[in-house]
Structure formats: C-alpha cells, structure tokens
Subunit: 418 residues, 2 copies
C-alpha cells in the first residue's frame, strides 16, 4: 500500500502555513511590504530564533553545522535511515519578498506540524533545513553553504567571504551564535526536496499550481570589456568612430537573437552595463558589461556559447574596438534524481493538482546540494513571475497546494529506503 | 591695394605664441600634462591676471563686462569703427588640454604683438576677447557668456547658475574680481573671428592645416527613458521579457544606421546610458539615455529627427516597453558671415596654406556670438582629433599657420568698414 493510499485524506493546514510566513516576514520588515533579512545580520539571527522556537515546539531536534546550516529533525521509527529533508533559506535580498526561500523552510515545518497533528510515524526521519546565505546579497557568491555541503566550495573560502564592511562570514556566524561544531557536509541526508516560488511566469501563464522540477539550467557567465575611443560627439564623423556603446549594443541585440534561436529554454541576458565616460557629448570609449547564457541541454549550451563568443568578437571588430571576453563561471546543466522527481510528480497527480515538468532557470540550494544528494524541487506560481522584489506574491491556495505535494512526496520518500 | 599685398611678408612669431601657450598651461596644471582651470576658480583668476599683464604689455586697453568677459583693445586709426575682435576662452575642462580655447585667445594676442613689432596701424581697432565659462564644466550650460552677449540667455539666468557647491556664477565673478560694470552685450564688436583646434579628425586625415569654418551643425538633444520590467535572468523565458536594455540597444544600433544614411555631416550619438537595476542576474527594467543628432542642413536634420523618433517608438514597442522621448534642446544650423568666411579663406590662400571649408561639429563661443555679430572661425588640426583630454596636442607649425591666417584675416576685416 502506497503512503498516499495510507494517508489519502491528509492535508497541511494552509492557514497556519500562511500565518507563519507572515509572522516571519515581520522580522526585518521591508519598506514596501517585503523583508530585509540579510544573511547573518541581527535580523537573520531573530529569524533563526523564531524558526528554532517553532521547530522545538514541533518536537524537532536542532543541529547547526559550522556553516550555520540548521537541521531540525523529527525522528523516524527506524533510527538508522538518513532523513528525508526539505527546506530552503530564511535570508532575503535587501529588498526581498516574503516568500523566496522562506516558503520552502516553512512548508517543510508545516509538513512536520501536520504529521504531529495526526500522530503519523515515518520510517525515515523527516527534517527541515535552513541553508545559510543563499541569496549571496551580503556574502558573494550565492548558495555558498549548500555549495560547501556538496563539496563545491572549500569551507575556508566560504568562511573568508566578506561583506561590504569587511566582516567575514565566519566572524558573523560566531557573532550571532550560529557557528556550529559539526563540519558542514557531515550531516547525512537521504533525500532532499525544496519547495520554492517559481520566480518566473511559466506556471502562471500555463495556469498550473505545481511545477515538477527535473533539473536546472546550465549557465555560463561572462565579463565583457570593450575599448573604443572617447571622442567628441559633434566633431567626429561617423566613419572614424570607435564607439564602444555601438559595439555593446550590437552584442545585446545579437544575444537576444541567439537565445530566440534556441527555444524553449535558451535564454541570454545582459543585466549589467557601465558606460564610460557616460557624457551626453562624448562618444563612449569604454563599456563594461556582463552576459549570462543558460540552457538545460549541454550540447545546446555549448552551441549558444560558441555563437555568443563569435558575436562578441565580430561586433567589437566592426566598430574597430578591442574586446576582452572572460568566462567567469561555467555551471553545467543539473539533472535531479528520478526517485525524487517521481515522488513529487506522483504526489501532485494523487492530489489532482495540474502540474508540469519544468527546469529551474534560477539557481537554488537544491541545485547545489544535488551534486551530493538525491534531490528535486516543487515550484508554485508567483504573481507576474516577480521575485527579488518586495511586491513578490504567491496565493495562499498555491502555497498550500505546494506544501501538500511536499507532504506526500516526503511521506513517499520516507518509506522508500527501509 | 589689399591688406595682404601691403603686408604680404608679415608673419606671427610662432615660437612666442607656443611659449605663451605653454606658460598659460602652467596655471592650474593637470596631472597628465594638461590643465585644470575651471571657470572663475582661483586658477582662472590667475590665468586672467597673466593674460591682463600680457595685454597691458602689448599696449591694449582692457574692459570687463558684467559677465566677466574680457576685451583687450588695440586702438585703430579711425576711432569710430567697431573693433575686429578675435578670441576664445581661457577656462578648461577638469582634465582639459593646453589648446582648447587658450589657443584662440593667445593667437589673437600674438596678432596684436606682431602688429606692434612692425608698427602697423589698422583702421578699425583690433581686439582680443576672453569669454567666461565656455566649457560649462563648472557652471552649466556651456558658452554661457557669449550666449548672454548674443541675447540667447537672460543675464539673471546666467548669474544664478551654480556649481556643485552651490556657489553662483555671479558671486564667483565678484569673488575673483571680474564682475565688470558694463552690461554684457553693450560692448560693440564689428567682426568676430575665433581660431580653435578642430577637436575632430578631419583636417588631420585630409592633411590640411587650415579649416575655413562656414557654420555650425544644427543639433537636437533628447532624453530617453525606457520602462520595461525587471525580472529574473534565469527563470524568465525570452518571449515574455520586457528587456529595456534590448530596446535601448536597438535604438543605439539604429541611430548609427540613420547617421550613416546621411553622409558626410550626419552624426548621431548616444553618449550616456544608465541601466537599472544593473545587476548581472536581472533583466534590466529601466534605461535612461541621451541621444544627440547633428546636421548642418536644416532639412536633413529634420529628416534625421523624424527617423530617430520613429526608431525609438518602434524599438520600445518591439520589446513591449514604455517610451518617454523628450527633445530637450533644438539648436538650428549656424551659418557664418560671408565677409568673415572670405577673409579667412583668402588669408589661407594668400599664405599658400592647404585649406578646406568645413562645418563645426562642436559648439563654440563664435557660434553663440554669430547670432549678434558677423563671425567666422579658423580650425587647425589636433592630434587624433583628441580634445577634452590632457593628451590634447597640436603642432607648433599648425598653430602658427592658424595664427598667420588670423593675422591676415583680421587685417583684411579691419579695413573693410571705413
């Protein structure tokens, strides 16, 4: 008998989940309805303390590792099995919303509260994780603690990351009392799930409350520098110009075409551009810009990369400019674990929730952790695809649906290894 | 008998001219070989004092008007004729060169020194002008005092311009002792010439030491604002994007094409662009940019303007962005005075100096003053067309050639009205 058949009527308390999210959002309130709870600040400490209190009330045992990752465990009835863990992060962007990260942690808490309400025992322990500094807004790079957990970053590298005031991640962990003793990565996890708002428009457009996440886009990041020549906008005829902004603009226009040529997943973005000397009357002699290429298929990602690199060289040469093109990050496509994907999809099907398989465009702790643990994710829609914005919003119904999928997926996974 | 026939062997002292330019450059020395002598600073005061000393030594009478414009006059032998005036400005950009403006003032001084050396009398008085705050680097807008002189700006508007510290132009005129009594615009000028480095590459490319300037480009300046939507670079598929930077880039690429379609004088430049939120990981939701269109022909300028406006609207619409397009300045093409142009051209021809007619791409005091006075300009090449840069350079030979043209053009004009 499947766990769903056993507990087919079991549902989370959507109101309790919503109220917990609203309660957490009061810590480090944003100026526009969101939250500002940067990693390892006093606000993050307060958020962690509220979370600890809630976990203790739910009968969980709490462990902190030496990256400040928090594991709140509800024992299983077979003590030697690694837990089925779900969670995300409680830190936010400077002008962050109420849901990004927080939902994943509190949906996992709601699962445990629901199990408690109904006195349900599981084989494997069920566990909540709160990863430290997912956002990277205070300490770059993002997803650093799940990265250390999975062996993608050295701990010494992570500990030595500093914020704008020069304070190190390790010293701030110590200061707020969250530098645990257990070495990060040592804590065993059997399966990992992460519920998260989509941060994109696909589920909303498709009118589906559940995204079954099968993996993550591969990404390549570039820093691009274009050197032309500053000259007078009035007295320099067109033929002699070395206009770095024209070269940069042809790259932006061209990268859009390359992405459009690789549907449906291909995306390219220039998010950052600095123009020098940035004066109305002067032809720009220097541009510094970024370029971000993503695709879930390694072959297509490679093809897009070749096309983008060729575009950059020809666009610069056409304007007689010098190009410096540096690939600063190469993250291969991520493929999640089949058992975890199946658990999520089956739960959505059993619950009669319209769902679709999808690829995560954004990076998540689950993507990092998937290098070491069997993992998948559950996406729920967010209004207008908006995120990293205080106006970020998800409906109580969709958040409840996602938590119910998480509940039944965790139950299924908790009996998978016996 | 023409003045050239009378004085066909008369030449300026190129070494004295060069040495004076080098001497002036020592006041407010730049960090990279240029000058930093912003309008109405202590350095500008020192520059004015050195200039005053030189003019007094050359037997000139000096008058200051209430915009701080300085007129140093060598009397003619027919007292009732308005002077033939030449000059430019002694103020510089923050990282300015040694030649921009300074050359025009000191070439006119060299003309008077040469006349003195040879005891030559002129019918009309011959005069040097130093216009206040041409660069606009300290008080915007540029060319403000020649503008007040020609009635393009109200004096009260000009007096109330403030620098970054909130100090007004008038209070700084008072502070350095250059708030004269005569109302600006009252001082009579018969003909006005301005010698200047080209600030562009044309003469250098054409290997001609003299540009006979027939007028100035018409200019239109726009402020452009494009509103799209910030969204996540990873999780927002291409079709739903409102990428303001893509729209802006298509405008930059398109404006280059429009300029190229209107040779040889048509130029378009986007010099300034501000990207928001300017984050690697976020599709830019907002762009603020400038656009500058120039052509010496009113009809072509109008045609280019229509094409650029249409481009902006369609580029924004294509990316589902909102456009705000504001024309903030409309300066019609300037046509210089035929007598003045002839005087310059004839002098160059008499002196066997290769020359070409050209249009000034940049704005100059002469362009402003031409609204009230018969005017022309003499351009000399500058290395690589480089200006507004401490590395700005012109050869002693070219500077001397330009000053000789100025000498003979002023002599011709000084006998024109009797």
């Amino acid at each position: 008998m499947s766990t769903f058949e056993l507990y087919s009527d079991l549902r989370v308390d959507g109101t309790r989940l919503w109220n917990s999210i609203m309660e957490m959002a009061k810590i480090g309130p944003g100026i526009a309805g969101g939250s500002r709870r940067l990693a390892l600040t006093d606000e993050d400490k307060q958020g962690r303390e509220l979370f600890t209190q809630w976990c203790a009330d739910a009968g969980c045992q709490i462990k902190i590792d030496d990256m400040g990752n928090m594991f709140a465990t509800r024992s299983g009835n077979k003590g030697d099995i690694a837990p089925v863990t779900a969670g995300s992060h409680l830190d936010t962007q400077p002008h962050g919303g109420k849901f990004d990260g927080v939902y994943g942690v509190l949906a996992a808490l709601e699962v445990i509260r629901t199990l408690n309400d109904h006195g349900i025992e599981t084989h494997a322990p069920v566990e909540i994780v709160n990863w430290t500094n997912e956002e990277g807004a205070r300490f770059a790079p993002a997803m650093i603690s799940s990265g250390v957990y999975a062996g993608l970053f050295e701990k010494s590298f992570a500990w030595n990351r500093t914020d704008v005031d020069g304070k190190s991640l390790k010293s701030e962990l110590e200061r707020i009392g969250y530098l645990g003793e257990e070495p990060c990565g040592q804590h065993k996890i059997g399966y990992l799930l992460e519920a998260h708002i989509e941060q994109g428009p696909i589920l909303e457009n498709e009118r589906k409350p559940i995204g079954v996440v099968t993996g993550g886009q591969g990404q390549r990041w570039y820093d691009i520098s274009i050197a032309g020549q500053d000259s007078h906008a009035g007295s320099t005829p067109m033929p002699g110009r070395k206009d770095a902004l024209v070269a940069a603009s042809n790259i932006v226009a061209g990268m859009q075409k390359i992405a459009n040529d690789h549907p449906p997943h291909g995306v390219c973005t220039v998010g950052e551009m600095h123009v020098e000397p940035n004066s109305r009357n002067t032809i720009p002699g220097h541009i510094q810009m970024t370029l971000d290429i993503r695709n879930p298929d390694q072959g297509i990602l490679d093809q897009m990369t070749r096309e983008v690199e060729q575009l950059c060289h020809s666009a610069a040469a056409e304007q007689r400019c010098e190009l410096m093109l540096e690939q600063i990050w190469d993250c291969p496509p991520i493929v999640f674990n089949e058992d975890c994907i199946d658990a999520v999809r089956s739960a959505a099907e059993h619950l009669d929730l319209p769902n679709m398989k999808m690829v995560s465009g954004a990076g998540h702790d689950a993507c990092q952790a998937s290098h070491a643990i069997a993992t998948s994710m559950i996406f729920v829609p967010c209004e207008g695809g908006l995120s990293h914005n205080e106006a970020e919003y998800a409906t109580p119904d969709d958040l409840t649906a996602g938590a119910n999928v998480l509940l039944h997926a965790m139950l299924a996974l908790s009996s998978l290894r016996q």
